[in-house]
Subunit: 252 residues, 2 copies
């Protein structure tokens, strides 16, 4: 799958029948610029100038850091409502690269506009702060995963995380598709692709999950949770944020 660069095509704001609001800037998704990113296309690359945040509207993306020698490390997978691009805030350049794993669409949120929004509205500030905070929390959890968990636990944690996130979007928590390759999963979890494959096979044999290529069914959620251990960071339903007085997400 060759990576190409996404053309900025649909970047003119246009309205849509139902206002799909999300908990990230700007408030109103219906009048927000969008951009399509086809499977294999790159949303932005490492070293690109940063001036825009994105929120996934449809599809799945993967983020990964690129070392000077070409080695890569996947840092996350983004599904609808996830924010993309925060890695560029610090230096003004993107440290990581983002590619679509399937035909996707993202909302385009110029960062200076976000900043203005945060400055002018208390709600805006809350939302922006929370976006940052989530990224920090997520990274911290991933650090625990990479630091203390063994292969089987990492894979289980990965599946439970996806399950939870799809669930929050209104999709099934028990059956979903792994849009990313075993290689990508391995890179994300600090494992080799063979190890990922073996662990999935083992979990299948043991009846905890059912795997058929990219199709996954979680057969025994409690056992999976037990496996991960109460020990390693909460992949559990979100705690309410002190920043979040604006509550949950509509529909889903």
């Amino acid at each position: 799958m060759t990576v190409t660069r996404a053309g900025v095509s649909g970047d003119a704001p246009f309205a849509e029948p139902r206002s799909t609001s999300f908990d990230v800037p700007p408030v109103d998704a219906s009048r927000c610029a969008r951009q399509r990113v086809r499977r294999g296309e790159m949303l932005f690359g490492a070293g690109d100038a940063f001036h825009t945040l994105y929120v996934v509207h449809a599809g799945v993306l993967k983020s990964f850091t690129v070392s000077d020698d070409g080695l890569t490390q996947v840092t996350g997978f983004q599904i609808p409502r996830d924010v993309v691009g925060l890695d560029g805030v610090g230096s003004g350049r993107h440290l990581s690269e983002v590619v679509a794993l399937e035909d996707s669409e993202v909302f385009v949120l110029p960062f200076d506009q976000c900043q203005r929004w945060a400055k002018e509205s208390a709600h805006g500030q809350r939302v922006m702060t929370r976006a940052f905070a989530r990224e920090i929390t997520r990274s911290q959890e991933q650090m625990v995963l990479l630091g203390v968990m063994r292969a089987e636990q990492r894979v289980a944690a990965f599946l439970l995380d996806l399950s939870e996130r799809y669930g929050r979007l209104g999709y099934s928590r028990l059956r979903f598709l792994l849009r990313m390759s075993r290689h990508d999963i391995g890179s994300y979890l600090g494992l080799q692709l063979e190890t990922v494959s073996r662990v999935l096979s083992r979990l299948h044999r043991e009846g905890l999950v059912q795997v058929q290529g990219k199709s996954i069914a979680l057969l025994d959620l409690p056992a999976l949770r037990l496996l991960v251990g109460v020990s390693a960071g909460r992949l559990s339903p979100e705690v309410d944020s002190i920043l979040d007085r604006d509550g949950g997400l509509p529909g889903g």
Copy 2:
């Protein structure tokens, strides 16, 4: 070393001869509340309500997550000018715990005050945003370290990171003290303490470093950098932030 809870003693704002400004809220350190944290004392614990950020003024702290079953994972070591407490922003409760590794002092920055500052001043917003961004960048680099590096590389990267940070503070980049135990280092790097000890011994034998208990001397910086590989995330001098028009830090 038993962990006790730090009493809120010096929390009344008081002035100081020279204004030690730092690049984090509030602007003026000279009129900022402070708090002493003695060796082994806890600045805050996991689950504690979050309402305050801290900036290390003197000393060294360690942050670590605490699992339900009591297992811990060190998430970072903080030296002067580092921000502490951002992990609590997301949920309103601290997810991690912070303990002083030596007698230390921190500036106390009520978060709502920071928020107000960010809202009212462009400079404040930049500084706050950058504080968040740094935390994200740092976590991302740690993810790479934990995900793709081997023990020797992790330890070398750890030493180079400390070297760089001490250097930025005006201390020697070549000789410094490891205030934390081998156990803490291991926890931070996703290794066992024995592995850390062994690697340090090996690096010593090979002439890259000189280790005597907690005292470290980096004898061959280029070799250490080579070992880490250009591959794994930049632990190199900071890129300038687009958020940072306020420049460097005053005297180290």
